[in-house]
């Protein structure tokens, strides 16, 4: 599993502490019928602002916008677009989110349906899994 194996399978965008790196600021990945935008999120002012993120979504012309930086776990629909913030997998310190809940998200795409499985570990609790579905072009709740 050398470098090339990873390069074919892993997509990386630049984070605020990625110094001296040639990583791109943002990326668009097409999977099935979905165009997915990736950005770390520290570039978006204000951090975590839904409207500001939506502006990036428009700029990249994607159906799904994945951003992070805030360590705040979110998955929501807005104006026919789907927004995902997978939080922090380790629950690491964040200046803006007190006591982040460790979480990660798996995404499954079949034709025009996108399903995410949100795994999170609340304090003093068992791991929870939540399933959310997003159909392209459909209005969400």
């Amino acid at each position: 599993m050398g470098k090339q194996w990873y390069q074919r399978r892993v997509r990386v965008v630049r984070g605020d502490f990625d110094l001296n790196s040639n990583l791109p600021e943002q990326k668009v990945v097409t999977v099935g019928q979905f165009k997915i935008g990736l950005i770390h999120g520290h570039q978006i002012v204000p951090w975590g602002d839904h409207d500001a993120i939506a502006a990036v979504c428009r700029q990249l012309d994607v159906d799904v916008m994945v951003s992070g930086h805030t360590h705040k776990l979110e998955a929501y629909q807005q104006d026919n677009k789907f927004y995902i913030n997978p939080g922090s997998v380790t629950g690491a310190y964040s200046p803006i989110e007190r006591n982040p809940v460790p979480a990660f998200i798996l995404m499954d795409i079949q034709a025009s349906t996108l399903v995410i499985y949100v795994y999170s570990l609340p304090p003093e609790g068992e791991m929870e899994v939540k399933k959310i579905e997003f159909k392209k072009g459909e209005k969400g709740e």
Binding site: Q43, D51, A52, Q59, D61
Partner: protein, 762 residues
């Protein structure tokens, strides 16, 4: 040898035929001829053994014939007499043994006398190879007829007689075996020794037979058997015999016997100055056995037998008395002792430390004894780490880190890396600053470096230091005051690492300190000194940041200053505000003086603006200069598009930015927002590239849309329409291409959004 096989085969056949015809005398004559083949001197041991096996198998036919025939007719005694007249001694003795066993089974004689007779008469064959096999035949033939009782049976013979029988056979066999060493030319010595080893089982079987006697009690073993065997071992002065037979003793006799004889008899002989034996293997073997015995059931070891003490003392004696013992042997012995301590006395960490201390003393007294032992010593030092799975226990062993100085630098580093990885993988938490101090001291070569620093591969070095950075996170206490002591201790050690290391290691500390501020803030109701403590932590952070700045890590320290500023902001105390302002200033200073690449500048100023936007507790007295500073810095960027974007970002500061006076409410300064955006538009107008211009216009349009959606009054519909009009005007004139296509799409999505949200009434 095929000739010999043919000979014996023929005689064997004839013997059988005679016996079938009931002609015993003829049978015996043929048997004698067959046995004559065993008188050969030309066969090497392996081949002699094959011949021996075939011949002695034929003798079982004779045995069976005699058992059947002569027991009927009560003429065994005569037969026993008869076979003693065979010509050559070797066939004579084989026949005598064969008949003797039948005789014993007939119960017509004194068993004791016959056995005594046989074992003595075998002295007649002094040729080592032939003698060994002959006596082996004696031992195996008498397997089932040795008396095994205390009380004398009717036909004579007690367990005592059996013991004496076997002991005599054993010592005679050993003498023969040792004699082989001195036969022949010195140049053939290796070959001879190899042949001797092939025959070792013959001698060892005596001991094994002894161990199978049911009547052999631990007393008999202690008082009679072991002393006799050891005497033979010591007196023969032969290292092959000593080594094999010591090991044999360990293997064949039960653990209870060893326990009884351990301290005074067995180990003393082992360490006897005349003993040539490879003490290392013997000791390790016996320790291993008794270890397993103890682990199987702790009750197996009587309370008065302090296994560890016994072995510990002995091993020290052995090492001291053999000044030429190589380091790998010394360490192998210590390793066996440590494993004994860990497995049999798991709660006695003192024992483990004692072994380490003894090793340390040996090496300190005579440094040359440690030469070349790095690999073995390193293996030894991993044992407690692997066993306890808890570095905190290892830290209790005060002799442990002192041994590190005897490791070569490369091996030492590897061990430190191993320990660090182990702590992380087991997620061991080190919760007191004393323990933290000890651990960092132990890992000194990793943390502070050594003379070999420059020779380490840069990638390896980076991995190692990243490991150190991760290790910081394992050092944590839930008690905030203790956590601060931990952080101070870490600082002491990690700053000694020098400029090459701190870029990897200090960020962890800084984030831990930042986190600690939050903890104190959360507990502020319960701790009246919390403000003072937070101030102290901020000073701590500042000092670490200064180190990074001094070492010229600009990008890193700029970002860390911003993170630190954010935490200052959440403290809500005036001390913290001052420090926070100072941190922001430092970030700006670095930005202005040290970030020279234009791409890096845009990234840096964007981050400063984004971070500053999050603060809410700067008084206006501090907030205003910072706002202006952001704006100024943005508008001074070299490239127009960068200026445009940076200034555009600043608009948010006037909208969602907060100061203390607002008490949590955002500034909502519409006028300034529009001013910013208009400035950005003006800057776009100054861009020469039409494509870039229009691209910027569309981005700014989205900013307008954002503020309009969020209720910013100055960003009116007309302002929006105006910009839309401008874009629509310029768009057709753009060169076709991918970028233009994207800009058009962006514009259309934006218009779509405007329509969808009904932002324009027209």
């Amino acid at each position: 040898s095929s000739g010999i096989n043919a000979e014996y085969g023929r005689e064997a056949f004839n013997m059988q035929r005679s016996l079938d015809k009931g002609q015993l005398m003829d049978g015996l004559r043929h048997a004698t001829e067959m046995l004559n083949e065993l008188r050969t001197s030309i066969l090497p041991p392996k081949n002699y053994y094959e011949l021996y096996m075939m011949v002695t198998m034929e003798l079982t036919h004779l045995n069976m014939y005699m058992s059947a025939e002569f027991i009927k007719e009560n003429k065994i005694a005569d037969l026993y007499e008869l076979v003693q007249h065979a010509g050559n001694i070797l066939p004579r003795l084989y026949l005598l043994i064969t008949v003797g066993v039948v005789y014993i089974r007939s119960e017509e004689c004194s068993r004791k006398d016959i056995l005594q007779d046989l074992v003595e008469m075998c002295r007649g064959v002094q040729h080592p190879l032939r003698g060994l096999f002959l006596r082996n035949f004696l031992l195996t033939s008498t397997r089932d007829v040795l008396p095994d009782d205390e009380t004398q049976a009717s036909d004579g013979g007690t367990i005592e007689d059996s013991i004496n029988f076997i002991l005599l056979n054993f010592s005679e066999m050993n003498k023969l075996w040792v004699r082989m060493q001195h036969q022949g030319h010195s140049r053939d010595r290796t070959k001879r020794e190899q042949e001797r080893l092939e025959l070792k089982l013959l001698v060892g079987t005596n001991l094994e037979r002894l161990s199978r006697l049911e009547g052999v009690t631990v007393d008999k073993y202690e008082k009679q058997i072991l002393p006799a065997v050891l005497k033979q071992l010591v007196n023969c002065k032969d290292s092959i015999a000593q080594e094999y037979l010591m090991d044999c003793i360990i293997q064949v006799f039960p653990d209870e016997f060893h326990l009884r004889t351990l301290e005074n008899t067995f180990l003393d002989t082992c360490c006897h100055p005349q003993s040539q034996v490879n003490v290392r293997n013997i000791i390790i073997s016996i320790i291993g056995r008794l270890s397993n015995f103890a682990q199987a059931d702790p009750a197996n070891i009587p309370d008065d037998i302090k296994l560890f003490d016994i072995f510990s003392v002995k091993v020290t004696q052995i090492i001291q008395s053999r000044s030429d013992m190589p380091p790998e042997d010394i360490l192998a012995l210590q390793s066996a002792l440590i494993k004994l301590a860990l497995n049999v006395y798991p709660s006695e960490t003192g024992y483990v430390n004692q072994v380490l201390q003894d090793t340390l003393s040996i090496f300190q007294k005579e440094e040359s004894r440690a030469k070349g032992c790095s690999g073995e010593l390193s293996k030894l030092l991993r044992v407690p780490v692997d066993h306890y799975q808890d570095i905190l226990v290892v830290l209790q062993l005060d002799a442990y880190p002192k041994l590190f100085s005897f490791l070569e630098l490369g091996t030492r580093r590897d061990l430190c890396v191993y320990i660090a990885e182990h702590v992380i993988e087991t997620d061991t938490l080190i919760y007191s600053h004393e323990q933290v101090d000890m651990l960092w001291s132990m890992l000194e070569c990793l943390v502070a470096g050594g003379p070999d620093d420059t020779t380490v591969d840069p990638e390896d070095f980076e991995c190692e230091q990243a490991l150190v950075g991760r290790l910081v996170h394992q050092m944590t206490s839930t008690v905030p005051d203790q956590q601060f002591l931990i952080l101070s201790t870490c600082k002491k050690h990690l700053t000694a690492g020098g400029d090459r290391r701190i870029q990897y290691t200090l960020p962890s500390l800084i984030f831990r300190a930042i986190h600690l501020c939050r903890v104190y803030h959360e507990l502020r109701e319960e701790d009246e000194k919390w403000e003072k403590k937070v101030t102290k932590i901020l000073q701590y952070i500042n000092s670490l940041l200064s180190s990074l700045v001094k070492a010229e890590f600009w990008d890193l320290s700029l970002r860390l200053y911003l993170q630190a500023a954010l935490v200052c902001d959440t403290m809500g105390i005036s001390n913290a505000e001052t420090v926070g302002y100072e941190f922001m200033s430092q970030a700006f200073a670095i930005y202005e003086e040290e970030v020279s690449d234009s791409k890096a500048q845009l990234i840096a100023i964007s981050l400063i603006v984004a971070t500053f936007e999050q603060t809410r507790n700067f008084s206006e007295e501090n907030h205003e200069p910072l706002r202006s500073q952001c704006f100024r810095a943005g508008s001074k960027l070299l490239k127009k598009p960068d200026q445009c974007r940076a200034v555009g970002l600043c608009s948010h500061l006037y909208w969602s930015g907060r100061n203390r006076e607002g008490e949590g409410e955002p500034l909502r300064n519409s006028t300034k927002v529009l001013e910013c955006l208009k400035k950005a538009v003006r800057i776009s107008n100054q861009c020469m590239e039409p494509t870039v211009q229009v691209q910027l216009f569309v981005e700014l349009l989205n900013k307008y849309v954002y503020f309009l959606c969020n209720g910013c009054e100055e960003v009116s519909e007309s302002v929006l329409s105006q910009l839309i009009g401008k874009i629509q005007e310029d768009m057709p004139g753009l060169e076709s291409g991918e970028i233009t296509r994207q800009i058009v799409k962006h514009f259309e999505s934006t218009l779509g959004f405007v329509t969808h949200r009904q932002l324009l009434s027209t």
